[in-house]
Point group: C2
Chain length 348, copies 2
């Protein structure tokens, strides 16, 4: 098992990436190809006294910045992202992990690996905490302007991931909508609702924004524009509630004291909702395994992202997706012929 790790992508530089790789090698026996500027990486290897033979540096001269335009990055062949992507393409690695520019990750893997048959656009599957288990959100922001057919594909790919990787038998699928009733929705979701009812997926109907936290669905499907809005709203709202509690508590010494007593609870809750526990968002629909780790990943988040990548490979996720896609194509009517599926790059 060899995973290519774009070590230059995260906000905090290569250190947490290398530390996470070391943990993954020790705990899960994963061989990690640590991709980035060799001299730079070597410094960290020396400082951390790394001698584990399962960690190997692969040199890449260039680095993709968070602000770089995704389409512009695909022309640069020596970025750590491009080199890591190529390692998978050439069979030298089994999967890719990056905490860098999401659009660039999608653009590079799309161009190098292409998509699975029938897939026009891949999707990002994000995990959100709920009162029960986590809920998967597909697409969490890879694509805007999706057709109904594509949202159905996202639902299918999310189902395969939930079933095979997250071990949820018969995952319950929801379609993100402005109401639970079948007659609610915009033109695209109304069509997607009808299509989903034709499939073998365990479609439980329309879901509202708040259902992501109820645990009543294993996954909720939507286009990436709405998915991004949901994700950012949830992050912003949770941060708001905590800040507002602090603001209110500060108005009385007694309440401030009570608030301090609650810190262990807040910490436990933080752990429960933290991204470092689940390790990153898989990019589903490309012909290979790519895990997008959070930009602010710490070593634990990197370790978990590498673990998830290795699990996806061991479980033959790409083959499973290919099988289910073929099945789906038989179940639902294909897209209108004047709009055939093609591989396209994300616009932003």
């Amino acid at each position: 098992m060899r995973i290519a790790l774009d070590a230059m992508g995260g906000d905090a530089g290569p250190r947490p990436a290398i530390e996470g790789a070391l943990l993954a090698a020790k705990l899960y026996n994963i061989h990690v190809l640590v991709v980035g500027k060799e001299r730079h990486l070597q410094k960290y290897f020396s400082a951390l006294n790394i001698t584990d033979p399962r960690l190997e540096i692969v040199h890449a001269d260039d680095v993709v910045k968070m602000t770089d335009s995704p389409t512009e990055t695909i022309r640069r062949k020596q970025t750590s992202l491009a080199v890591a992507t190529r390692l998978v393409k050439e069979g030298k690695a089994d999967a890719l992990v990056s905490a860098g520019n999401t659009g660039a990750l999608i653009a590079n893997t799309l161009l190098s690996w292409r998509t699975l048959p029938g897939i026009k656009k891949p999707c990002l599957a994000a995990f959100l905490p709920s009162l029960k288990a986590h809920t998967l959100l597909v697409d969490a922001g890879a694509n805007v302007d999706c057709k109904a057919h594509q949202i159905v594909q996202f639902a299918m790919m999310g189902s395969v991931y939930a079933r095979d990787v997250l071990k949820r038998p018969n995952p319950r699928v929801g379609l993100l909508c402005n109401g639970h009733e079948d007659n609610k929705g915009n033109e695209v979701t109304k069509e997607a609702n009808k299509m989903l009812r034709q499939t073998h997926l365990n479609f439980e109907g329309n879901a509202e924004g708040g259902d992501i936290f109820s645990g009543d669905f294993d996954l909720i499907a939507c286009d990436g524009f709405v998915g991004n809005v949901l994700l950012k709203t949830a992050e912003g709202c949770a941060a708001f509630v905590f800040k507002a509690i602090k603001q209110e508590a500060k108005k009385s010494i007694f309440q401030t004291f009570a608030g301090l007593l609650m810190i262990p609870t807040a910490k436990k809750l933080k752990k429960r909702t933290d991204y470092d526990e689940y390790g990153g968002a898989p990019l589903l629909g490309v012909n290979g395994i790519a895990i997008k780790a959070h930009g602010r990943s710490n070593k634990k988040a990197y370790m978990n992202a590498l673990r998830v990548a290795s699990e996806c490979h061991e479980l033959n996720l790409v083959d499973r997706l290919r099988e289910e896609l073929a099945r789906l194509e038989e179940e639902i009517e294909p897209e209108s012929p004047h709009n055939p599926p093609t591989t396209s790059l994300p616009e932003n």
Copy 2:
């Protein structure tokens, strides 16, 4: 000042509506036409010993249920909603307040009052709490499938409301998007972004979901599908955080005790985020003043909804909107001629 109050609309029946009307009459000297089944309402008037001449019952034989199809309700001329709407149309009342079926409120007012010149679809303006003042969300769910031109109109109408009713000078406008950068967005929002830059509105660029809580924008504009998802996500997330804190705290007696000490803070926060303080969501773009009160309105929420309705009338909100619409039409290119603005009913 006379406000028509659909007293049959709320989840809890006419009692909180009547109590709220009594408060509004006493505190703000508002004359309230309480619309609903006379015998039914008279019982509450007797029970509450109401003799205030500013409260007047107007009989309506029929009631719109929350589950009724909006388009079906417009054929029923004797519902409390239809009668209240007609009172405004005929000049017997200055504004309308209802806590009932939102789609039916939109459909009834649209058909009876029509829209303001140039407006195809009205929007609902919802208030969300932020770390500073509340943020206005337009459209919060009245319309799905909006064109760029319509989202710009929502932004303009929200600006007028924020400026004149909420007293925010030069309201800061955000456009809900999947990223702050101008190149982010779907086809519709990219076009709306360009249009907004041509207007006199204080457009501060794209906003992300979380920005609704930052207080950096006075209002955020979007189509009603995304607006509904944002609203429901925020409600669901806040409820989730509180429940999860409770769940965690229950795991230790000490933490449960600390949690109990925090109750006053939680109550203050609840008050700060409660809908009963701001009184309801104005429906902007119809040719009249309609305030949608929350389905779960208590007497205070009704009182505030009636106060807001009377303020909108006193401030000539409809005239102000008409003026700004004319100005907007000069600033931005009109919609393509093969798709002229027409009055249409919401589909669901």
